[in-house]
């Protein structure tokens, strides 16, 4: 319960909960990065919650990092052809299913 109280003029848990996702995603918002960081350091519950979200974000980011090399090659070839020869008939663009 004590953690719910405002800490020495800083943010309280409810205030941090409202902005935590933006803070973790480094999105702009009406909050002070330092204030949030201080609260997460002082408040065990909020700190653990933020830590869990960071782990989740890292897991998902690692899952999406790479694109298949053969697909990338195919798209690069398509792009090079588009630039050098210009667009053909629109239906020609859909070629990878065949």
């Amino acid at each position: 319960m004590l953690e719910m109280l405002r800490r020495k003029g800083g943010l309280n848990c409810l205030e941090v909960a409202r902005i935590l996702q933006s803070y973790l995603d480094a999105e702009p918002g009406k909050y002070s990065v330092e204030s949030v960081a201080n609260h997460l350091q002082e408040c065990r519950r909020c700190g653990l919650e933020a830590s869990d979200y960071r782990i989740m974000k890292a897991s998902l980011a690692s899952a999406g990092q790479s694109v298949p090399e053969d697909s990338l090659q195919r798209i690069r070839e398509f792009t090079a052809k588009l630039i050098s020869e210009g667009p053909d008939d629109p239906s020609d663009a859909i070629s990878s299913e065949s």
Binding site: G64, I75, R76, S96
Partner: protein, 180 residues
Amino acid sequence: MAADLNRTIAPKDMFEELVVPEIEVLMRVARSLSEGQYEADDLVQETLLRAYRSIGSFDGAHVRAWLFTIMRNANMNRRRRKLPSLLGNAGLESFAEKSKGPEELTMDASTDGSVLRAVAQLSPKLLAVITLVDVDQLSYEEAALILEVPIGTVMSRLHRSRRRVRAMLQAGHLEGKADR
């Protein structure tokens, strides 16, 4: 700078300079919008083709937002996959297979796979947001553009999705043990 580009550079060169560097981002987002890799590749090709055709009238500003708009429209028109049913479970499973996690993660012993399995259980709307932001690394603004919703909606859905994933991880029923 954007206006200068439009005035002084030929459309072909503008395409090379502005669009080509975004190809990998487009491919990641297309994969989230598609059932499989071939469909994703088709969507990227169609997006590039449309971008090439219209780059002459593009002012050069906010190129990624412009490309996402083109991709979203191309995807909607093709009706290959209706938003917001992004990234089906099959896609997430393929991520889970290849994902590797740092050993120091503390949530449990196989966090990456657990996170992916938890995310796969989210509703389509929540799945779409967390995929675009956390997997594809889009900003809230970019995700809002793709999903055609306000940024505030992206934020609230993201919060809900992460909270639910965390709750599932804490409940510990993500180890493939349906009986827990």
